[in-house]
């Protein structure tokens, strides 16, 4: 009798603890509270970083003196990247671009000092991204933050860490549409709105008037899908989100098949899309696939059966591959890593170079000064240059931020008022289980 009671109590305690732990871990309750605190504390953060900025001034002044002895410490900026999680393939590509860019910048140096990039992992999740950004902004006191990959993560970082401070945030890979609503949040990759328009035209040109859509259940998927539906004249017969990292999507693919549409549009991430393709294949369904940029990748090809996606068309933001500076970049990249660069590596490369030029053009190493110069060094005014060396030389000879117009390897950059760049898109088609470029669209 007493034994039973004890064991019942144990079970109850267990349930309580397991429940609480589960809630905390999965629902992110703890983290939500954190967010609010951060949002509240952002002002304080701003003051702190102002203070940090002032001391940075002194440091700068000191470094001017110390320049002759050339012993000043490096300029430290931060980067939040998807090193793990569902966007880790992008993180890997970014890191290659970043390494190449850092090598370039530090070969030349910025006024005799090096550029140091502190990279933190976002785990491809909002919470991880916020924690990483907090560490960089509050602890390392960086005035310039490159981040993040996922649009939701970039926005979460901006809203809970950056907004209200004068730290500059430049996202390397986010294409979500709603980033356009935040002019303070810059990005190197073009907005997804151009992608949605291109997809709508492409599917219509191919003669389909019904489409079934599934999109990843976050800012990126939702905003691209909304823009697509706005631009699409035909019928949307199926439109359902899916969560990331589920173990099965057979429900989604069978419903897409039941919807009767012959054109299926996937606005998904690579891992989830791979699962879906395998499930479509092993269920024996047939359809013409279309996809946003996030579904393309070597790991998708490697992990799907031969012939399962042939004829699929994907619209991806692309670097101007015919330009000379891109070809130099591609050649360097290939000799370093033994493979062709992706646009995502090119965006990350340009983020670092643009940041380095902003630092060199600024009077002082503070967020306020960098906010001013980051747009101007790559804006259309000034002499057109295609490498860090050339731009850096102009600045070193006394040129101001308006005297250079850095043309990136990923495009002309030229941030508009909303912080979005001018973009290029490429249409890829899957042929013999390989991606083949079939044309370009201007952004």
């Amino acid at each position: 009798m007493s034994r039973d009671t004890t064991s019942a109590t144990d079970r109850r305690t267990y349930l309580r603890v397991a429940g609480a732990t589960g809630l905390a871990a999965f629902a992110g309750c703890v983290s939500t509270t954190d967010d609010e605190e951060d949002a509240g504390g952002a002002d304080d953060g701003g003051e702190e970083s102002d203070a940090g900025g002032e001391s940075g001034d002194e440091g700068d002044a000191a470094s001017d003196d110390a320049d002759e002895s050339a012993s000043a410490g490096p300029y430290q900026i931060g980067m939040v990247d998807s090193l793990t999680g569902s966007l880790s393939a992008f993180g890997e590509r970014n890191q290659r671009g970043v390494e190449l860019a850092l090598g370039r910048v530090n070969e030349q140096g910025i006024d005799g000092r090096d550029l140091e990039l502190i990279v933190e992992d976002s785990e491809s999740e909002n919470q991880g991204g916020i924690a990483a950004a907090q560490k960089l902004v509050n602890q390392d006191e960086v005035p310039f933050l490159i981040g993040a990959v996922g649009s939701g993560v970039s926005l979460a970082i901006y809203e809970s860490v950056i907004q209200g401070t004068d730290v500059v945030q430049l996202s390397q890979n986010s294409t979500g549409l709603n980033l356009t609503d935040f002019p303070g949040l810059l990005r190197m990759s073009p907005s997804g709105r151009t992608q949605s328009l291109a997809l709508a035209n492409l599917i219509a040109e191919d003669g389909y008037d019904e489409v079934a859509i599934t999109y990843v259940n976050n800012d990126y998927g939702q905003s691209l899908t909304d823009a697509f539906v706005d631009a699409w004249d035909g019928d949307v017969v199926y439109n359902t989100p899916h969560d990331q990292e589920q173990q099965s999507y057979s429900g989604i693919v069978s419903e897409m098949n039941d919807s009767g549409a012959d054109a299926w549009l996937f606005i998904a991430y690579q891992a989830e899309f791979t699962t879906m393709v395998n499930e479509v294949y092993s269920s024996g369904y047939e359809a013409q696939f279309y996809g946003a940029d996030s579904v393309s990748g070597d790991s998708v090809l490697a992990n799907t059966p031969e012939g399962s996606m042939d004829g699929m068309k994907i619209v991806v933001p692309s670097a101007p591959v015919e330009e000379e500076n891109y070809q130099t970049f591609a050649a360097d990249f290939e000799s370093e890593y033994g493979q062709e660069p992706t646009s995502w590596a090119a965006y990350a490369y340009d983020c670092v170079v643009n940041a380095a030029l902003a630092i060199q053009a600024a009077d002082e190493f503070t967020g306020a000064a960098l906010t001013d110069t980051v747009r101007r060094v790559s804006a259309p005014e000034g002499e057109t240059v295609t490498s860090f060396e050339a731009a850096s030389d102009i600045l070193a000879e006394g040129g101001g931020p308006d005297d250079v117009d850095y043309q990136g390897v990923s495009g002309p950059i030229d941030f508009d008022e909303a912080g979005d760049p001018v973009g290029f898109l490429q249409i890829l088609e899957v042929q013999d289980h390989e991606y083949a470029g079939t044309g370009f669209i201007e952004g």
């Binding site: 397991a18 173990q247 791979t274 395998n278 024996g284």
Partner: protein
Amino acid sequence: MTVLGYVANGLVFSSIIVLGSIGLSLVYSIADFANFAHGDTMTVGAYAALVTFGAVGGLGGAVLGLPYGFFLALLVGIAAGAVVAVATERLIYEPLTTDSIGLLITSIGVAFVYRAVIQIGFGADFTRFEIGALRPIEWLIPYGIRVTRHDVAIVASAVVLVSGLHVLLQYTDLGRKMRAMADNPTLARVSGIRTRRIRYWTWVIGAGLAAAGGVFLGLFNQLSPRMGFNLLLVIFAAVILGGIGSVYGAMLGGFLIGMINQLTPLLSRLGEVLPLVPDGFGIPIGIEYANAIAFVIMVAVLLARPTGIAGEEAV
């Protein structure tokens, strides 16, 4: 897709969850704590099988579309899961003089270690076994069932493993000792059972089944360092629904949760499926809420029966 088709998909998915749930419940009943590293034990098994399969290759013939080498890899995966779990028990859980809550928190840490080691070794990206994907079985398609021979292999293997466990628990000396120990460890000990050895065996069986579940999950979907962890929440739901500590409850709970998860698309078209309900009637819930529905049902069952379906009634 027809109702039969959804049921078939549910059966495949349930098989994997059942394999995971049994181990979790078994370890809870004998080692007396909720092992949060259980999901990552599945991952360990899957990656051990991936390495083995890569090394030995197909080995000639094939059963149900799966080469012999895969079954060897499955055995190695099971062994690897068991070895890792027993080593963790010896090195970490056993020397710790703490209560079940302390062990629970420790196991969360252990889970991170497993995952990090796999990530260091294999990277964060996903991968699949080098086994060509199959088309659905032709003669089942007219019935609306679209499963491959791999799916059949998953269900069959799960049935074999679960039956084996049933025989072990009911008809062998080890099984009797395990049941005795689950009921009352002190009494088991004074009556001469070597409880420490039984605990090791529990880990071997629980982790071995989890590892098998992990290998099948890799075959069914794909391998990634977070695969097991992502499934853990669902497995906990299954175990609690079935009655924590009860092996047969875990089987039932795993089966139910897997089925509910895969049958969700039917909710919006109940009218076509059920008799006596007008066509066109349906509960308009999208399948993105599949897990939420499974949890709502779990909560409803627990409200009616707080110890879970097969849990012992507290007196």
